[in-house]
């Protein structure tokens, strides 16, 4: 299976074109951490359980995303810098349909 491209803007405003594997079942938060696009210990603090909002990102493209579960919605309602297009990156698994997805990592 081939990789897809995902465009990620880090917290310093630098854009990265990342090759993301679609055959190992990882989510966007894990992809960001894998490529060390956020300072260690500042993103994915709860390990991906939708319990901390540290992996908040803004989805800049109109790709089909999984529906927001109640837990994610509740966590975002308490987070800061939340926008209409905010999502927790740990709740979005990478699949072929996300090819070309563009996102920005929200401030800490």
């Amino acid at each position: 299976m081939s990789d897809i491209n995902i465009f990620i803007k880090d917290r310093d405003g630098v854009s990265h074109n990342i090759k993301a594997p679609i055959d190992i079942s990882i989510n966007l938060m894990e992809l960001i951490r894998l490529h060390e696009l956020a300072e260690e210990g500042t993103l994915g603090i709860c390990g991906g359980t939708a319990m901390c909002a540290s992996c908040q990102c803004y989805i800049e493209s109109s790709h089909p995303l999984p529906k927001m579960e109640a837990e994610e919605e509740a966590m975002l309602s308490e987070a800061f810098y939340v926008k209409e297009n905010s999502r927790l990156s740990c709740q979005i698994n990478i699949n072929a349909k996300l090819s070309g997805l563009s996102l920005e990592i929200a401030p800490e």
Binding site: E36, E40, I45, M51, E78
Partner: protein, 350 residues
Amino acid sequence: MIKTDIIIIGAGPTGLFTVFEAGLLKLKCHLIDTLPQAGGQCSEIYPKKPIYDIPGFPEILAGDLIKNLMEQCKQFKPGFTLGERAEDIIKKKDGTFVVTTNKGTKHQAPVVAIAGGLGSFEPKKPILDRLDFYEDKGVEYIIKEPEIYRGKKVVIAGGGDSALDWSIFLANINADITLVHRRNEFRGALDSVEKVRELKNKNKINVITPAEVTKISGRDKLESLTITSKNTETELLADHFIPLFGLSPRLGPIANWGLEVEKNAIKVDTFDYQTNIPGIFAIGDVNTYSGKLKLILCGFHEATLMCQSAHKIIHPDKKNVFRYTTVSGVNGFDGSRKEAKKPVIQSINN
């Protein structure tokens, strides 16, 4: 001065298991943690979430794992300094370390084990103009002395368990509570939500949702807050404002202790997880080495090996004989003794 054999900074799963392993070697431990309870992230962030990779437990809730670890280590009578942050460390001439907290509590030991996870938990602060000016002048992030709120006008913001639980607690000591949350739904435990609803119906808590605190006012201290709900602003008199938006970890003062730090983690030698300062170890999520995995089970392993070297430092003249607990049993510092039952050897044909 609290004196012990090993000062453990961080009372998460790795720190708690260190107490047990040290106890087997007859070493006493004292734990320091910024949170008011033991358990670290497991208690603070995801107590109700299951963990599937603790050896011997196909599934265990994070909160239950902490309960079990507390049960397992209590026979070794650990000391706790909770709700305080380890602020600085000095090495004395006799080779021991003195660790002082932000509240001035001093601890002395020949060995320090940093088991601080991702760091000490600091409150997440709302984005409000001049917030820092009002800190400790009516704005508080952690409730230390509930009694100061008795009879006072208190506004709590947040939608999780802390916001709900403190609203209930303070309403019951006759504080005039207003709970403000951005949504109508709350994220906390069902019975807490129910209790807040009951108190609201009895006019003991004023609940404003969906709403946000958007401005703090007051000349020398907090006097009033502006609450914005559906584009309507209301000014509310307040003596205290307590935003409870969760906690975020920071390596904090440990970063200035002269330890080698890489990517917010402390570099260690994998022989015994000792740092670049002899006598100071770093175990669990707080450390880094080639191949490091931030897993609770790795923290347990690191704690176990670390205690062997700690024993050599604390008792350089004593030989440490490796023993299995199944064979030697466990002698608690509380006088308890656990051991395998002796087999019954009897003849059947006599």
